[in-house]
Each structure stands twice: as structure tokens, then as C-alpha cells.
Amino acid sequence: MSLYAQHGYGKSTKIEKGIDANILSGIILSPKAEKPEKIKEFINHTKHNHPDIDIMFDPQFYICGFSGDLSDGKLSEYPYYISELSRANLSVPKNIQKYAKDVIDFQNELNVSKIVSPTILIDDFNGKQSQIAISLAYESISLLDAENRLMISLCINENAFKNLDAMNEFLDIISLLDVKGFYLIIDRSNNIKEPLIDLNILTNIMKFCYVLATVNEFEVILGYTDLLSIPLITTGISATACGWHNGQKMFSEANFQRSNGGRRARKRYTSNQLMNSILIIPEMTTVNDFGKLKDIMSATIYDKILLTSPGDSAWSDEISCLHNWSSLKILIDEIKSYETIGERLDCVTEKIVFANKLYRMFSDKVPFEPKSNNSHLNVWLAAISEFRNQIGE
């Protein structure tokens, strides 16, 4: 169980520093954010300096199926990219073969050990898109040594997980694929902000990950995941990937639509003790005013920047990103130190209970905004409990 960087715009030296600090074990590259020659150069450079780092290239083929005023960045410079593929395009078997081949051929020229198959966004496990996604997977399998190299990518809207029967049937099909593993992206397009999520959806995502990773022993890498990594890592998945912008911490179709910009995100701090990220001003400064700052710190090497006076600190975007990764890594390492899934679930449960106690201590003192409060914790607890029932742990 480890942490990968979810690559995006403006990587500067973040990934390099994350690797040097032993926080990151891998990188998932985004062609939307980088030209092909730059990607190749970056892979070769990283492989040379850090041969043990796992580098994966997410072809982001799912964007081909999106419509509207798309912000597809550098993707148009990639040979396999086709903007606004229609359902008719995707219904022709010959096209499916070509799409898979083009995506795999491009990756075969990269210095990567694993190959990621193309996919499209699945809204419903019973829908046409899930059949197309499976066809793309089958076509990809036929093109290489799939058992040792191929990661089947799946991009699934969270609402699809509401239908447990359909999810189970989908699992019956994909668990038979003879591949190395799965690169899974959960589309959070219903605009509920991470880490809050619907109880049934989280329970079923946990089961989905557990069936693939623990029962069927596939390598499962979960992309675009920030704090939700914590309950999900208990299921036995190999890694989660998180980036620096909100768009790399949580996947949403809206992130690929052109926007008019917006105000700069306010600075936040990831607190392992609260199992959430909170605003540095005013939330963290208020905690500091009560002399309780140390109670919520994550014990990363970056904490010292904030310890004396959080409000005045030079908490840059890069430091914020490295701190967030480091906080996640600390939690992941603690969870993975437990051998059984039951013990890992116990560990997360205890942490949630403790975080709730801290929140109660601050209840009438700190003005937490909705994104910073503890509303997600009880959902996580209930989902863990329900998941335990489902798997008999």
C-alpha cells in the first residue's frame, strides 16, 4: 500500500521532492497536462534517477467521450486522441480495436513497465458504456502480455455504485480478465466535496476494491483520491494517487470543461488527527489561539513551518502539496502495518472515533466551514461497519 503522485499542470519540483522525501512510490502521468515529448523526457529522467519509482501513463481516453466546451489541454497533441467521440463511433467493433491499439502503441514507446488500457466513463454498470469499457479492455488484452503488464483502467461515476446487483455482475465479468490489475477512477461529479460521500456508495466502492484487490489478488491503484484513501486503503488496494490541485485530488467531469477561472484556493492543512483538511485561516489559527495546535498536527517534517505562528507562515502551494502527501503517507503506513483487513478496519475506526472527539472539543470554539467539519466521519464509520458485515470481518 503506497502513495502515488497524480500528475497535473504545474508539477515544478513537487514530484521530485516527494520522491526524494520517500513519500511517493509512483506517478500517474496526465497527457492533458504535458506535451508528448515532455512526458517522454520526464519519464526517462525519473527512471534514470529513481529506477524503483513506478511510472504509469493514464491515457485519459475517457475525455474523448466527454462533450461540451472541453478543456483537453495537451491531449490534442497525442496521436490516439479524438475529441468528442460519439456513441456511434464507440459502437463499431473495428473502431474499438483501433482505439485500443493506438493507446497501447503509444505507451509501448514510453519507458514504462505497466501499460494502462483506454476506457470511457461508466455512468451505470448496466449501461452501454460499461459494455464499451469491457470491449476496450478485451481489445487491450489481446495486444500485449496482459497478465504481467496491463492495468485495465475504469472510470466510474460514483452513482453507478448505488446499484449493488449491477456492480456485482460487473465484478463477475472483470474479475475474469487475465490482467495485472486495475487503475480505478471514481467520478465524483455530483459535486459533493471530498471527503464526504454517500454511505451506500462508499460501502460498495469498498467492496468493489476488496473483491478486486484482496479476493482476486489484482493490483489495484485508485487514482484521484485524497483523504478517501484512508477507508479505501483498508480493502487491500496497492496504492492511491493524489495530486496538488483540487482537480487531481478528486475526479469530476467538470474538471475537463473550460471554466472562467475563479479565485485562488484558500490555504489548507491536512490534519491526520481530524482526518480532514482545514483552512489555515481562520480555522487553524483559532485552534492555535486555544493552545491546541499540536493536538491536530500530523507530525510531518513540514509542520514546523506552521508551529510558531500558522497565520504568518510561508505555506506555499508546494509545501502544502508535500505536506498533504506526507500526511497521507503516514496514515497509509500505519494502516498497512496491520496484516489483516479486520485489524486495518479497527485502526481506521479508532482514528475516526478519536477525530470525532477532537471535533467535539472544538465544537463551540472553532468556526469550521462545511468542507472542514466532521460530517464525513460518521458516514465513513457507518460504511466501515456495513462493509464489515458484507465481507464477514
Binding site: S175, V211, G392
Partner: protein, 308 residues
């Protein structure tokens, strides 16, 4: 469909150079004679398609009757074709006589031969001796999992794994899977009419009970049935069926009930083998094994530990 009415003398009349060397065995649709042909022992199987003098004009269900005959023929052809495509010590093989049709004493018959396996079937062994030794049960599991894997390699599913269809060959103690009569070729159209559940009912998998999912059945359905067989061999009890149960009660149990862990019934069973059985009995196919090789490897590892 009735069983053919044939004596040992009739068999020798139908097949030249064939000498019946033992008592016949009557199954659901077949009669089986142990025979010697050129000094080698075979099981010769006869299937009755129809009686030649049946006045079908008076029968309102003629179409259904003919469809049924065609289905029995097709099933026999499939059984032979699967046997021919497989060559394994864990699977019964076609004998000297290929599928042949004949008319004899007012009966329209099909017959063929299979290799003769000297030994007892698991049902007989359980009846005689009670639960099997853990090591023997694991050996059975490994051999039959290998058989299931080999059938799946040809894109087929057996669909009728049960103690009566597993023989212990006395010459080398190998377990052999018999009877491909229910086998399902995933490349071909289903031979089973909608609503009719194939396979012996107390060994059916949950997905075999969902007739609308019938086309999606894969080798993991056979693994579920194998799980029931192993459970029985280890504990002497069926995990779902109890005497006097109706079909509905049985099917409901197969679909929803989690049986007691075998370890609870037989304390000689270790945790690893207990977990294997429970995993095979998972209600959803994705909860079992995605490859037979993973199961076989686990079983081999336990068997090796037992031998040390």
C-alpha cells in the same frame, strides 16, 4: 425420457466383438454396461431417443417431443466432442466406440463407449466409510479442480459436479471426473430450454438458479459445486440440503444461507482448508477463484505441508 430396455445379449447383438462383463448401471437417461472389446474394458453407454412405434399423431405435444429428441442428440454429440477435445488423467475419455445411432427392437438408440475406471464413486465411498480423511479430500479437490480447469481451457463448463460423477481410480488413487452430459460450450447456443435448470439440484450454484444469467455461467459455477462436494467429503454433511426439504427451501438456502464452517463440524480440518471451502461456496462468482490455478496451488501447498 425413459432408459433403454436392453439385456447383455442385446448389447452383444448390437455391437459385434463386444462382451458384457458385469452388471448394468441405470442412470437418468442412460444404461451403462461394462464391456470388453478386444480384451480391453470399456463403459458402453446407451441412450433411448424414442420408441419407433409411438403414434405421435395422437399426441398434442409433437413439437415438444421432437425438440426434446433433438436436444438429447445434441447433448450426446456435445458430450462426445468435449471428451475428444480433452486428454487428462482427471477426466473420463472416449473409448473405442464413437457416437453411433441404431434402431433395435423398436427403440431408436444412441451409444458410445468410455474408458473403464476401476474403483468407486465418491457417493459410494461416503456411504460406505463416512467422511474422508482431510488429505484424501484435498487430493480429490486438487484433481477435480485440475479437471475443471482443463474443461474451462476448452471454453466449456461441466455443470454437473457431484459425488456420483467423481470416481476414485483404484490403480493410482487419482480422482476422475465423469459425465459431460450437462456440459455447456460457451461458444455454442444453449442446449437447455428456458426455465429448465440443468445439473443435479443439490449441487447447483447460485448462478445456475438465476435462469436469466444462464449464459454468463463460467467455471466458477463448477467451483461452487466442487465446494459442496468437498464440504460433504470433509464433514459428511451437505452444506445446504436437509432431509425433507422442498426444492424451494433448498434453492433459497443455496442463494442466501451461509453454512456452518466445516471446521465447526470436523475439528481435524485446518483453517486454510476451511477457508478454501468457504471461499468456493461464496454466493457470487467473483468471491471464489478467478483462476483454478490459484486454488490448485493453495491445495498443493497444504498437501505438501501434510507430507512433511
Amino acid at each position: 425420457m425413459a432408459v433403454p430396455n436392453l439385456s447383455a445379449e442385446d448389447v452383444s447383438q448390437i455391437i459385434a466383438d463386444c462382451k458384457v462383463v458385469g452388471k448394468c448401471n441405470r442412470g437418468g437417461q442412460k444404461i451403462v454396461y461394462p464391456c470388453e472389446i478386444n480384451g480391453i474394458k470399456y463403459a458402453v453407454k446407451f441412450i433411448l431417443l424414442n420408441y419407433l412405434d409411438l403414434d405421435l399423431d395422437k399426441d398434442n405435444d409433437n413439437d415438444e417431443y421432437y425438440i426434446h429428441i433433438e436436444e438429447v442428440k445434441a447433448r450426446a454429440e456435445r458430450e462426445i466432442s468435449i471428451m475428444k477435445s480433452l486428454d487428462s488423467p482427471y477426466l473420463i475419455r472416449i473409448g473405442k466406440i464413437d457416437l453411433t445411432s441404431t434402431e433395435y427392437k423398436n427403440q431408436n438408440l444412441l451409444f458410445y463407449s468410455e474408458d473403464w475406471v476401476e474403483g468407486d464413486d465418491i457417493s459410494t465411498i461416503l456411504r460406505k466409510n463416512g467422511p474422508m480423511d482431510v488429505k484424501d479430500a484435498l487430493k480429490l479437490s486438487k484433481d477435480i479442480a485440475t479437471a475443471i480447469s482443463q474443461i474451462w481451457d476448452t471454453n466449456n463448463v461441466h455443470r454437473d459436479i457431484k459425488p456420483q460423477n467423481i470416481m476414485k481410480r483404484s490403480s493410482d488413487n487419482t480422482y476422475v471426473l465423469l459425465d459431460f452430459g450437462m456440459a455447456f460450450d460457451l461458444d455454442d447456443k444453449s442446449l437447455t430450454q428456458v426455465g429448465l435448470v440443468p445439473g443435479t439440484k443439490i449441487y447447483l450454484s447460485p448462478e445456475q438458479l438465476h435462469w436469466q444469467k444462464k449464459r454468463d455461467i463460467d467455471f466458477r459455477s463448477d467451483l461452487f459445486s466442487l465446494g459442496i462436494v468437498i464440504y460433504e467429503t470433509l464433514t459428511g454433511c451437505h452444506p445446504f440440503y436437509e432431509h425433507g426439504m422442498t426444492d424451494l427451501e433448498l434453492f433459497n438456502r443455496i442463494l442466501t444461507y451461509t453454512p456452518s464452517e466445516p471446521q465447526v463440524i470436523n475439528t481435524n480440518i485446518g483453517k486454510e482448508e476451511n477457508d478454501i471451502v468457504m471461499r468456493l461456496l461464496a454466493k457470487e462468482p467473483h468471491g471464489r477463484y478467478r483462476k483454478c490455478s490459484i486454488l490448485i496451488k493453495q491445495l498443493q501447498a497444504i498437501l505438501q505441508t501434510m507430507e512433511v
